[in-house]
């Protein structure tokens, strides 16, 4: 499982690879938080939230998921790095997320974009490059 921040003149561009769809979505969240310079209380406890989403494509599902995570992070001032998946497939997900108190974000994620977004599955491997407006 990896995410890698790629060069981009203005925005945040992240390459994500993982061995399962669930890990793929988790790595995308981690990449987003790293790109945002998230600092949090490692030993703290935050809220538990449930996210259920349906979408017409895995790309749309990923964008909607990341936007939801960011919204909750802003609203609750937390980061979400623990995921308990009830369901995940390319068109639907249901997950319980646990938060840790946020200390700060260095950079604001204005939006998760669909720019050139294509999720590729080869066997069990999932891969994409995603751009966030910052």
């Amino acid at each position: 499982m990896i995410f890698k921040i790629l060069p981009h003149p203005a925005d945040l561009k992240i390459e994500i690879e993982a061995d399962s769809l669930a890990e793929f979505f988790e790595e995308a969240v981690k990449g987003m938080y790293q790109g945002a310079g998230a600092k949090y209380q490692e030993n703290g406890f935050g809220k538990i939230e449930n996210i259920s989403l349906k979408a017409k494509s895995p790309e749309q599902l990923l964008v909607d998921f990341l936007n939801e995570i960011w919204f909750l992070s802003q609203k609750n001032q937390e980061v979400y790095l623990k995921f308990e998946w009830q369901k995940i497939n390319p068109g639907e997900l249901s997950v319980r997320i646990s938060g840790k108190p946020l200390k700060e974000f260095e950079t604001e994620i204005k939006g998760t974009t669909f720019y050139n977004l294509k999720i590729v599955q080869q066997g069990n491997k999932w891969q994409t490059v995603i751009v966030f407006d910052i």
């Binding site: 945040l12 001032q77 950079t107 939006g111 050139n116």
Partner: protein
């Protein structure tokens, strides 16, 4: 669309380059780019030409898609892009061609003071402003709105600010649209977007947002400068911020709605997702965008009131003596008329630049043209220009908005440390305050194109006219 290199461009006039319509069979119009050779060489390294060509494939796009000299790669329409769609021909509206930070914009405040008065008070002034005006991410504002208030701001913008005595009547006069787009409808803004905006009024945000105390360094047109109230050595203040999380959420909501709508038009890049302007969804987005724009004007106004409060307390300066020169939006879509046609002009990182005689300008500026404010990067110059009739003829009344990024943030951080950069800026006489050291480095001058060259292009091409150059003395970075 494949990558487009600068050798595909045809020079049609000094500073104007074209990618012809037949470059790609899907393009409905040509692409025109305002640039010098120096700037073209820099643009060639990103995908902004390709993104302009993608926009040129949209149905109803009118005449040409434009790139300003500060253009850089983004998503959908690139930053520095201008695209007009013809409303009568099922003109499209595209949230990604406005951007997530709806009505990100800049305003310039004038003071009565000059550098001799301020120089030994500058550090203290910057520190006070830094403590007064929330900046950085997660920083809630000093103002906590309720649901009724946020709806009023969304619907009436600066009118509400005036009613609450956060604005002076002159502020409405010197903002685009009087600081209120009348098309706004708070019902079209989601509860989630409103929730994000409740504690963000009067906040700078982060990234390239800033408040800058500057000095007027040079005057290029003495007569116009006098009429604008500018003179050499004068202390002025730039404020650059937008609609914060509220605006971001509006864009997110409507990109999603359009992608899920049967009215969606096929596009080469989903961030160009568009629907007919006259459709219910198109109108819903436009009304929500207008509401977010009103929030952004109100945000810059609240910060202005904070600044006036600081000047009042520190210098016994009446609020009306800190005057608004003008406030411009650079991420917005407006209905405007050109060549007898009603067009929806999308400006994404581009500034409106109406010329002299335009009836939408306040009376005091009608003989001059619209003030255009072009902030440079942190530590570099900024400019005041005037819009021109030529801009109305050639660029849908548009010009550049800033310097335009060249370098990724990661690359910037590898060039220099925050402490080294702060020292360099201090040695130039520039005081920086920010909650994030990493953020300071990301915004270093070398990460951007040469602002002097960008402004030279628009001035030489006749789409804006240089009036004054400002240099920074103190910067509060968001």
């Amino acid at each position: 669309m494949a990558a487009v290199s600068s050798d595909k461009l045809k020079k049609i006039e000094e500073f104007i380059w074209e990618i012809p319509q037949n470059f790609n069979p899907k393009m409905k119009v040509a692409v025109r780019i305002y640039a010098s050779e120096e700037i073209l060489a820099a643009i060639n390294e990103d995908r902004s030409f390709e993104q302009l060509c993608n926009a040129a494939t949209l149905p109803s796009v009118y005449k040409y898609v434009l790139g300003m000299p500060d253009i850089h790669e983004g998503y959908g329409l690139p930053i520095g892009g201008v695209m007009a769609t013809e409303i009568a021909r099922e003109g499209l509206i595209s949230p990604g061609s406005v951007g997530y930070d709806i009505n990100c914009g800049v305003r310039l405040l004038l003071t009565r003071f000059d550098i001799n008065f301020i120089k030994d008070k500058l550090e203290d002034l910057i520190e006070t402003l830094f403590r007064t005006i929330p900046s950085g991410l997660g920083a809630g504002g000093a103002i906590r709105l309720n649901q009724t208030e946020i709806d009023e701001i969304l619907n009436t913008g600066l009118e509400w600010m005036l009613k609450k005595k956060f604005a002076l009547s002159q502020d409405l006069n010197y903002s685009e649209n009087g600081g209120k787009m009348t098309e706004a409808n708070s019902d079209k803004v989601s509860p989630r977007a409103k929730q994000r905006g409740l504690n963000q009024l009067g906040t700078l945000g982060s990234g390239n947002h800033f408040l800058e105390i500057s000095k007027v360094e040079e005057i290029y047109d003495e007569e116009s400068a006098i009429k604008l109230g500018l003179k050499k050595e004068q202390i002025v203040i730039l404020v650059h911020t937008g609609s914060r999380g509220l605006g971001h959420q509006v864009c997110t909501d409507y990109v999603q709605k359009i992608l899920n709508s049967p009215e969606i038009v096929e596009v080469p890049d989903r961030e160009l997702a568009a629907c007919p302007f006259d459709s219910q969804l198109g109108q819903d987005y436009f009304q929500a965008m207008a509401a977010a724009a009103n929030f952004a004007w109100s945000n810059r106004q609240m910060i202005t009131d904070f600044i006036r409060g600081v000047f009042e307390k520190k210098f016994n300066e009446p609020k009306e003596n800190v005057k608004l020169l003008y406030d411009v939006a650079h991420n917005i879509a407006k209905v405007e008329e050109y060549e007898g046609k009603k067009l929806l002009v999308h400006r994404k990182g581009a500034t409106r630049a109406f010329g002299a005689g335009n009836s939408q300008l306040p009376e005091e500026y009608r003989s001059l043209g619209q003030p255009v404010l072009i902030p440079g990067s942190m530590g570099s110059a900024s400019y005041v220009l005037l819009g021109t009739k030529k801009a109305e003829e050639k660029t849908f009344g548009s010009t550049c908005h800033g310097a335009g990024r060249l370098m990724s943030r990661g690359q910037a951080k590898r060039q220099i440390s925050a402490d080294e950069l702060i020292n360099q800026l201090n040695e130039k006489g520039i005081t920086i305050r920010s909650y994030s050291k990493a953020g300071i480095v990301e915004e270093m001058p070398a990460a951007y194109k040469n602002i002097d060259e960008v402004v030279r292009v628009v001035d030489s091409a006749g789409i804006s006219k240089k009036i004054a150059k400002l240099v920074p003395l103190g910067v509060i970075k968001g």
